[in-house]
């Protein structure tokens, strides 16, 4: 079930490089939060710290806390594998597993976690593909390779794969930036639907997209190259786009920089 995320005084490092400074943000359940900001300001880094993918990079370090419904996901007793099972992720470029069929891609998370029951896997595959608005397009070729789909379909396949493990939260890192406008719309519609069941955090370069899909928007910025990225403000999307409280936000949204 959808859960809330509370980020407190988060500092993120790549080795000696301080990538993100003092981020605190609350993400309510069944809600879409958009991260916007210029390239390199640490949106992806913050997003990846929310399901402990940050530490996959060599030398990466985390300070501060990220709580999922009050539970610190960085507590020493917590297994990062469990965290990632609870908080799913969709990447910028569609990345279906090339050796697997469409169906195997969708159920990969369950099957590799040990589910063997074929009927159950079939049900999950159908439910997830329907959930990702892909079922009608692929139901006749579930055994064909996932790599044969179009970019937009592949991205929806990746979303189906992510929701198949029934996470509480779905993180999306610029999920539409490699897609054409029609596929982008399909994904945006999907996000609006997924919001009923999941807490969603989406990084986007496209401000119209942030305005269309999100309930709250967080604006990140950095003072200069080599400086850490910071959270400038976070507020209701409507407010951010109509009447932001920070000058930098207004400049960015009105296209005066970035």
């Amino acid at each position: 079930m959808a859960k809330r995320i509370d980020v407190k005084e988060l500092n993120l490092y790549y080795g000696k490089f301080h990538a993100v400074q003092e981020v605190s943000i609350a993400v309510p359940p069944r809600n879409v939060t958009a991260f916007i900001g210029p390239s390199g300001c640490g949106k992806s880094t913050v997003l990846r710290s929310l399901n402990r993918m940050h530490e996959v990079a060599p030398g990466a370090r985390v300070e501060g806390s990220v709580q999922l419904d009050g539970e610190d996901i960085y507590a020493s007793s917590v297994d990062p594998v469990q965290v990632r099972r609870t908080i799913g992720m969709v990447f910028q470029r569609p990345n279906p597993f090339p050796t697997m069929s469409i169906k195997d891609n969708v159920v990969a998370g369950l099957r590799l976690a040990g589910t063997k029951n074929k009927k159950q896997l079939d049900e999950v595959a159908e439910r997830s593909l329907r959930g990702a608005n892909l079922w009608n397009e692929v139901k006749d070729r579930l055994d064909r390779p996932g790599g044969g789909l179009s970019g937009g379909q592949q991205q929806r396949l990746c979303i189906a794969r992510a929701i198949a493990v029934q996470p509480d939260v779905l993180l999306m890192d610029e999920p539409c930036s490699a897609l054409d406008p029609i596929s982008t719309l399909a994904i945006e519609d999907l996000i609006t639907e997924l919001k009923k069941d999941f807490t969603i955090v989406i990084v986007t370069h496209n401000m119209q997209q942030a305005a269309r899909v999100s309930d709250q928007t967080a604006f990140f910025n950095l003072n200069g190259v080599g400086q850490p990225g910071r959270l400038i403000e976070v507020d209701d999307t409507e407010k951010i786009f109509s009447n932001p409280s920070q000058k930098a936000t207004e400049d960015y949204i009105s296209g005066r920089f970035g």
């Binding site: 399901n51 993918m53 996959v56 060599p58 594998v81 469990q82 965290v83 990632r84 099972r85 609870t86 799913g88 992720m89 990447f91 470029r93 990345n95 597993f97 090339p98 050796t99 990969a108 998370g109 590799l112 976690a113 064909r144 390779p145 790599g147 044969g148 990746c158 794969r161 992510a162 493990v165």
Partner: protein, 304 residues
Amino acid sequence: MTTDTADLTRLATPPTFQSVSGARKFKNGLATAAVWGAFLVAIVPLVWVLFIVVQRGLPIVVNADWWQKSLNGLLSRQQGGGVYHAIYGTLVQGLVCAVISVPIGLMVGVYLVEYGGRSRLAKATTFMVDILTGVPSIVAALFVYSLWITTFGFGRSGFAVALALVLLMVPVIVRTTEEMLKIVPDELREASYALGIPKWKTIVKIVIPTALSGILTGIMLALARVMGETAPVLVLAAYAPYINYNLFDGPMASLPLLMTTERSNSTAAGFDRIWGAAITLVIIITLFNLLATVVSRVLAPKTK
């Protein structure tokens, strides 16, 4: 500025497209000739060797006896008999070598790419593998001789040969595995982690299957390569004209060993055996290469 001068400037500008200059044509011709020359230098000896091997060997091996009998009881000048004893030796030594080398090479490759990073152990391992890659087969054979036979006191045997071949095969498999794992995009590993799949399972179920076709091709080619090695069989196994199924004891023939042994046989029969064994070896290695191609086609990630 008058219209006249404007016209003059316009005329002075050269046309955008010019015909190819003589110097460029000449250079092009020279380069073409050089490329063709290099191609011929490379291909002529190859075709020549193949032609002679086929011409002299083929008549010998199109004979059921060749594949089903040994040279047991035949005098050196006596025609007939076969080399199945040597084929058996070559295949068994090669396969036992593969059975030992593949797990070691695969695991070392996985360690280097997935776990080693820039650690000191990984650097040391890479260095060792580099050195091992350059070790001549005679050195590998003598090393096994001094360790397995002189120090441990075992006899010369097919297994000792397999051990020497392991030394030659492991670095090749490590290298192939490394190269193939490196081209698996990190995005796939991350996609798998993000599903809550642990690292070892990601490697076993996602990364290795993606790289498998390339790894298997490398293994097949390495196998084909070591089966033709001569130094280890000369040093580590005695020749026998009869079949010996026991890998661990007694003399055991193999195709390269049979060929070097028959070189001292100056009769027509010896000549035939050498060329027959040569083409047999070529056929076996070709089959392995074909198998490698088929396997990699079947296993390669598909999009259709």
